[in-house]
């Protein structure tokens, strides 16, 4: 299937049209959200935050995937590396959308911004939870992520034209910087944008829990894009072995996500201290369906299906599971955001689905645009050949 000599993705008009269509659906949903009375303001902003955060997470996850494998001197993933690299391109776009969301919707999203209403606990948190500092952090996060992600991808692409090892070394240094920066900001951003919705509530694990969700959904997205690319006739070197490894990741990180979810839940359930249980009480009692659906989609299904070696090596099965997990983590963030912001008015209607379709379209558009700009194969990567020749047994 060597039909593409340069191994470049051709972002043809057919695909573009589909994505435009999806974006259009999103825009319509946005308008519906703006003008429909059924969509209360908090619901409107909450959904923007949800999708912004989710697709930002995928973009960050892509960059993190690359960075952490580079740091670990891992070889097998180099042949698919261009996909997560391209995913990282969405970070600045997410930043802009997020900024707009916050500029107009922050008061609907975070009740701690309401300083007029005195609250002793929130007053104590004010040195951290105040809008000025919030935006400063916002700026730091996006600046750091965007710049590092950009240069990391650039170093990788530069390598295509120049086989000098210096790019590889540069890439490794950038990876380290990104991983360290991300290690801190992944937690703090999760506190800022998600945990502070339920501003009285706190959990030390929260940042890592959100991070684990980011990992799984990123893997799911990579799998889905890879399958798409293969169906389009690209990436013929991506074989069952790669898929198997990605499937193992999907399996393992689903377990990791469940582990962290359970750790947090168990410890809060066990001590049953009101200031902590309030978070879960709200979700178990008032959003019980989503609460359990979340666990089924993100753990039970991937765990049971991907347990066997064969299912991980079957593109169709892994693809379906990836799709479920992709949707599942949207549900997970939905459950994190909605009860705190929208409360009883939480609904899933055209607005939610349309908006999400729009975001998927936009995200893919940017990823595909990125993929089309460079070779799909980092042929000069020192470990590229390793990636082509390896077997995975279990």
């Amino acid at each position: 299937m060597e039909q593409n000599m340069e191994n470049k993705f051709v972002f043809d008009s057919k695909i573009k049209m589909i994505l435009y269509g999806m974006i259009a659906v999103g825009l319509i949903a946005l308008l519906v959200g703006l003008f429909s009375e059924g969509v209360v303001e908090s619901r409107f902003w909450a959904n923007l935050l949800l999708n912004n955060f989710y697709f930002l997470a995928l973009a960050l996850g892509g960059t993190f995937f690359v960075a952490v494998h580079e740091m670990g001197e891992s070889g097998w993933q180099t042949s698919i590396q261009r996909v997560p690299e391209a995913m990282g391109r969405f970070i600045p776009f997410a930043g802009v959308l997020m900024l707009i969301t916050f500029l107009f919707g922050i008061h609907h999203l975070y009740h701690w911004t309401d300083t007029a209403h005195h609250d002793e606990i929130l007053a104590g948190k004010a040195p951290y939870l105040n809008t000025t500092f919030f935006y400063i952090r916002f700026a730091i996060y996006f600046a750091g992520w965007s710049i590092l992600s950009y240069y990391l991808r650039k170093a990788s692409i530069d390598m295509d034209s120049d086989a000098d090892i210096k790019y590889y070394k540069k890439q490794r240094i950038l990876s380290s910087v990104f991983v360290v920066f991300f290690a801190i900001t992944s937690s703090t951003s999760a506190w800022d944008w998600l945990m502070s919705i339920d501003a009285h509530w706190f959990s030390t694990l929260y940042g890592w829990y959100i991070f684990s969700g980011l990992l799984v959904s990123t893997i799911a997205m990579i799998i889905l894009i890879l399958i798409f690319l293969r169906n389009q006739g690209y990436m013929s070197h991506v074989n069952k072995e790669h898929l198997h490894d990605l499937g193992k990741y999907l399996f393992a990180f689903s377990i990791l996500w469940m582990y962290l979810w359970f750790s947090q839940y168990l410890l809060i359930w066990y001590s049953n201290i009101p200031e902590e249980t309030v978070y879960f009480v709200e979700r178990v009692n008032n959003h019980s369906t989503i609460f359990y659906v979340n666990l089924v989609m993100n753990f039970v299904l991937p765990f049971l299906v991907l347990m066997t070696r064969n299912s991980k090596r079957m593109i169709g099965v892994t693809g379906v599971v990836a799709l479920i997990v992709f949707a599942g983590h949207w549900v997970d963030y939905f459950l994190a955001i909605m009860p705190g912001v929208v409360g009883e008015n939480t609904k899933v209607g055209f607005f939610e689905i349309g908006l999400t379709i729009g975001y998927i379209g936009l995200f893919l558009f940017i990823v595909f645009l990125g993929l089309s700009k460079a070779s799909l194969i980092p042929k000069n990567h020192p470990f590229y050949k390793e990636s082509l020749d390896y077997h995975t047994n279990y």
Binding site: W269, S271, N272, I273, P274, E275, T277, V278, F280, V281
Partner: protein, 996 residues
């Protein structure tokens, strides 16, 4: 030794009630002679009641005999049902503390003392020392036999020699002196009278180690009556104290606490409470409970009193006293007193006559006589005349006294001039001591004639005119002792048993005017059953006030330099029961120090002198004591507790602390318990205190919630806003368990609780809580199931003090239960957090996870109940067989490696439940009373069924003042606390924390 087996039932059966059979039985099967203490026939009833189960205790007195712990009942004595406790009304009085009590007897052994609710004086309350006294009964250090010149002898021989001596003295017209503590027993007094009849040259001196002679002297000069008035603190709306620790040690703390707490209680129907201002130098229990505590030097106390007098006199147009201005402001106090004329009370703890005279003047001007204090119905306490003891010492040294009988007194320890006294004692021809506990004096006398312990003997008491009480033996004498009264009667040649004498006295003096309709026998039995007989006396409100007694001016002492203040300790009192491990291990209510006395000094003085806690100082080169830095201590006053430094009282007391009695002064007729111009220097050495609490700040946490009276009236929930907030935010991930049937709960009214510690000892006695000794307390391993937390706040020079009794909170969502791997601690179907001791493997996980830290771990084999031999850790000798007699058989003792904690006295709950079941009825509210609640003289603890909506506890829980400790953790405790209310105008703003 050869074992003796019963060949047949007949051989073992001849119990027909005749005394000889008992005697034989005792001889045959227990192997001792019956103690010679009166004719057997009259002891019959008593013996029938208490049988011979106690004989096992008696056996211990002679070490060669093996202890047999099982005594079979073939014919059940009437009053004994094995496994069922009997209660005998009695009275505790040891010359210092008075309490009408019930003695709980199990299988012939007194195991617990409870307050007697029928007494109008103590009203069911008791103090830590009274609670602990049951253990003193089993004190191994007690004298077991009479002795002549230190050699144990037969009673017959001692009696014969003493009588011979007495007769000789009588013939030579020599003087005999009997020294006793204050005697409030009419019959004992009659015994002494009989003795004096026989030996007319006998003088009876009453000697109080801690004297209140100044009060009676002052009353003598002001009102012409040498008495101590009775007080009614509950009638006083304003109480002003001058160094009188009436809640802890002064005169009748149990009665006063009852009264005081009554006046302090607030509720829906009573939105007022008394105002209490207290002037003192050291931080006393009473002072720390006051609404306003004014730090005053003892040397200036009289000036302050006189100034107060002047303020009041001025307004009432009376003459004033010429004195320097008061160092502290008394205007506010005076105004308050004046606003409550006739319902205020000023008390003074000083033993300075002039001070007391002026205090009398104040009370008189305020019209308080007949209302809050009464000299026509005096307290028969502290009758000792201090100068008599001085005279006696002089006479002894001059050789003017031929016979000296020391009956229940211990001047060799607690007389300031003990050396002089002992020197003189050697010059007397006949010296006899009649001690009931081992002491320093007894062995200095030639003849030692041990007295029964108070729980072993008959006696009667008249604490106030017309207010009689009886004590009866709750156990057959453990040792070869004899009631002191009988000893004296014997020497006086009167062949009556003491109990008969009491009976005849009552028949003659009390019965006729008693208004009792039945026979004397019924009267006697009723009185004995009730423990008390009270008849209304008085209505006599007349008093003769001698205005001229009020001085026109007073001498003032120099108040330069350091001052010493000697106080009675709440734990060991005057030191009489110092050999009682429960009292030694009882933390001081304020300093939280156990097993010690010390020199309390102020923070400022410590800084000035460069002293830190645990340094040793010498006071006037007479006494070296470790320093304890005490917030609220007057800048230049050093306070030292009396009652420590015993040298011959038994292994427990000896070597604990230092004896401060030699520092007592005698001037102006009375003994003075303070001293000015004290020289203090730091000496070598360092000392580590065995403290049960080392952090004194509440750290701003809402643990003890308080409000002020005005705020309370405005909003009963004031100070307790947090409770509402917590309730509002209480979410849970699983349903709260419902308790069918009962759900036991307890509430503590922090406004009533004074922190007197009586509950702590009661709990230890009821639940067999081990004593761990000084070294273990230093390691913070005390075992008390109940403790009283004490925190300071605000000004370190004069802090506000709060106290909180903390026991297991019996959480419905108990963090401790969750984590026990073996399920040794679970929640009962009645909401009690219970421990299965024999299931416990001792991981201590529960204790770690208990936010209240009320669980206690047996770090060592404190109780000698471990499977491993030779590892008992028992510094207080609590595991010797004799002391084990005090153990409550309803509560299992815990072995090494086991966690224990408050059970809400589950044994009492079960007992009453069973009673109700047998009687086929519902349990009544208030029927079950845990030991702490039973004892509490302030009625601060309420226990009951939370499922019963009409119960007192339910009402407490519904009260706006009710909250739970650390309720924000959602542990759902079954113990509640009611906020403390202070009678101050100031808003209860957030207290400044003292970091210490």
């Amino acid at each position: 030794m050869e074992k003796k087996y019963y060949k047949s039932i007949e051989e073992y059966q001849p119990i027909d009630g005749s005394p000889n059979n008992y005697k034989n039985l005792a001889k045959n099967h227990i192997g001792i002679d019956e103690p010679v203490s009166g004719s057997p026939s009259s002891r019959r009833d008593f013996l029938k009641l208490f049988g011979f189960a106690i004989a096992s205790a008696a056996v211990v007195s002679s070490c060669e005999q093996p202890v047999r712990k099982a005594i079979p009942y073939l014919i059940k004595p009437d009053a004994i049902t094995p496994g069922k406790a009997s209660y005998f009304a009695s009275t505790f009085f040891d010359g210092n503390d008075y309490s009408s009590i019930l003695v709980k007897v199990r299988d012939g052994r007194p195991i617990k003392i409870e307050g007697n609710k029928l007494s109008s004086v103590t009203k069911g309350g008791s103090s830590a020392r009274v609670q602990a006294s049951v253990l003193s009964l089993y004190d191994t250090a007690r004298y077991k036999n009479p002795a002549i010149s230190g050699v144990e002898a037969e009673w017959e021989k001692a009696d014969a020699e003493i009588i011979e001596n007495l007769k000789a003295i009588k013939q030579s017209n020599g003087k005999i002196v009997i020294v006793t503590p204050t005697i409030i027993s009419p019959s004992t007094l009659s015994v002494i009278e009989k003795f004096i009849e026989e030996y007319p040259a006998t003088k009876h001196i009453q000697y109080d180690a801690i004297s209140a002679n100044a009060i009676s002297l002052a009353n003598q000069s002001v009102f012409g009556k040498e008495v101590i008035p009775s007080y009614q603190f509950h009638k006083a709306k304003v109480i002003v104290g001058f160094g009188a620790d009436f809640l802890g040690t002064w005169l009748m703390p149990v009665e006063f606490t009852k009264q005081y707490s009554k006046g302090r209680k607030v509720g829906h129907n009573k939105k007022e409470m008394s105002y209490h201002a207290h002037f003192e130098a050291g931080m006393s229990l009473t002072g720390s409970n006051a609404d306003k505590r004014i730090v005053t030097k003892n040397s200036q106390q009289k000036i302050v009193i006189a100034n107060l007098y002047n303020e009041i006199a001025k307004q009432l147009g009376e003459n004033t006293i010429e004195i320097p201005a008061s160092p502290v402001d008394v205007h506010d106090v005076a105004q308050r007193l004046l606003a409550h004329k006739g319902e205020s009370l000023v008390v003074c703890g000083s033993n300075d006559k002039e001070s007391q005279v002026i205090v009398n003047g104040i009370n008189y001007l305020l019209g308080n006589y007949g209302s809050t204090l009464d000299i026509n119905s005096p307290l028969n306490l502290k009758k000792g005349n201090d100068s008599e003891m001085e005279t006696l010492t002089k006479e002894l040294n001059k050789g003017e006294v031929s016979g000296l009988i020391l009956y229940g007194v211990n001047p060799a320890y607690n007389y300031q001039n003990a050396k002089g006294f002992l020197n003189g004692l050697k010059k007397a021809d006949l010296t006899v001591s009649i001690p009931s506990l081992k002491d320093e004096t007894a062995e200095e006398c030639k003849y030692l004639c041990p007295d029964h312990y108070v729980l072993e003997t008959w006696n009667d008491y008249e604490i106030k005119p017309g207010n009689y009480s009886l004590s009866q033996p709750a156990i057959r004498p453990i040792f070869n002792t004899r009631a002191g009264q009988e000893t004296l009667l014997k020497w006086a040649g009167v062949e009556t048993e003491y109990v008969e004498l009491i009976k005849s006295n009552w028949k003659k003096n009390i019965y006729p005017s008693s208004g009792f309709s039945g026979s004397f026998r019924d009267f006697w039995n009723t009185s004995l059953h009730n423990g008390v007989f009270e008849k209304a006396v008085g209505g006599n409100l007349e008093i003769n006030y001698s205005k001229s007694a009020i001085p026109s001016g007073i001498e003032t002492e120099s108040s330069e330099g350091l001052e010493l203040e000697l106080v009675e300790s709440v734990a060991v009192g005057d030191g009489r029961q110092a050999n009682n491990p429960w009292l030694q291990e009882l933390p001081d209510p304020t300093t939280k120090v156990t097993w010690d006395n010390y020199a309390s000094i102020s923070v400022r003085l410590a800084e000035e002198m460069g002293i830190t806690e645990g340094d040793i100082i010498s006071i006037d080169k007479q006494l070296s004591l470790p320093v304890l830095i005490q917030p609220g201590q007057e800048h230049k006053t050093i306070s030292v507790a009396l009652g420590y430094g015993r040298t011959n009282a038994g292994a427990v007391a000896e070597g604990v602390g230092g004896n401060a009695y030699p520092l007592v002064q005698h001037n102006r007729q009375t003994r003075i318990y303070s001293k000015t111009g004290v020289k203090v220097e730091k000496v070598e050495g360092e000392h580590e205190f065995a403290k049960t609490q080392s952090h004194h700040s509440m750290e701003g946490r809402p643990l003890i919630r308080e409000t002020t009276l005005s705020e309370y009236i405005e909003d009963p929930a004031s100070g307790n806003e947090f409770h509402e907030k917590v309730k509002h935010h209480a979410t849970t991930l699983y349903e709260k368990r419902k308790f069918e049937g009962h759900h036991w709960g307890m509430a503590v009214d922090l406004n009533s609780c004074t922190g007197c510690n009586a509950c702590v000892v009661a709990c230890s006695a009821e639940n067999n809580v081990p004593v761990v000794g000084k070294e273990q307390v230093k390691l913070a391993r005390e075992m008390h199931w109940m403790r009283i937390d004490r925190y300071y706040s605000d000004d370190i020079e004069n802090p506000e003090v709060v106290r909180q009794p903390v026991m297991c909170q019996h959480c419905d969502n108990a963090p401790c239960e969750n984590v026990c791997p073996v399920g040794a601690t679970t929640n009962s179907s009645e909401g009690v957090n219970q421990m299965a001791y024999n299931r416990c493997i001792g991981t201590r996980y529960c204790n770690n996870n208990c936010p209240y830290k009320v669980r206690r771990f047996n770090f060592m084999d404190y109780t000698q109940s471990d499977a491993i031999p030779l590892n008992t850790y028992d510094p207080a000798g609590m595991t010797v067989d004799l002391k084990r007699m005090v153990l409550n058989p309803d509560v299992v003792i815990r072995s090494k490696g086991v966690i224990e904690k408050c059970s809400l006295c589950i044994q009492r709950i079960q007992e009453k439940k069973l009673d109700a079941k047998l009687e086929n009825r519902q349990l009544e509210d208030g029927e079950i009373v845990p030991a702490c609640a039973q004892t509490c003289p302030a009625d601060a603890i309420v226990f009951g069924d939370l499922n019963n909506k009409d119960s007192k506890i339910s009402k407490f829980f519904a009260d706006e003042r009710n909250y739970h400790l650390l309720e924000e953790l959602h542990t759902l405790p079954s113990v509640g606390y009611l906020t403390k209310v202070r009678n101050t105008e100031a808003k209860a703003t957030k207290k400044k924390e003292i970091k210490h």
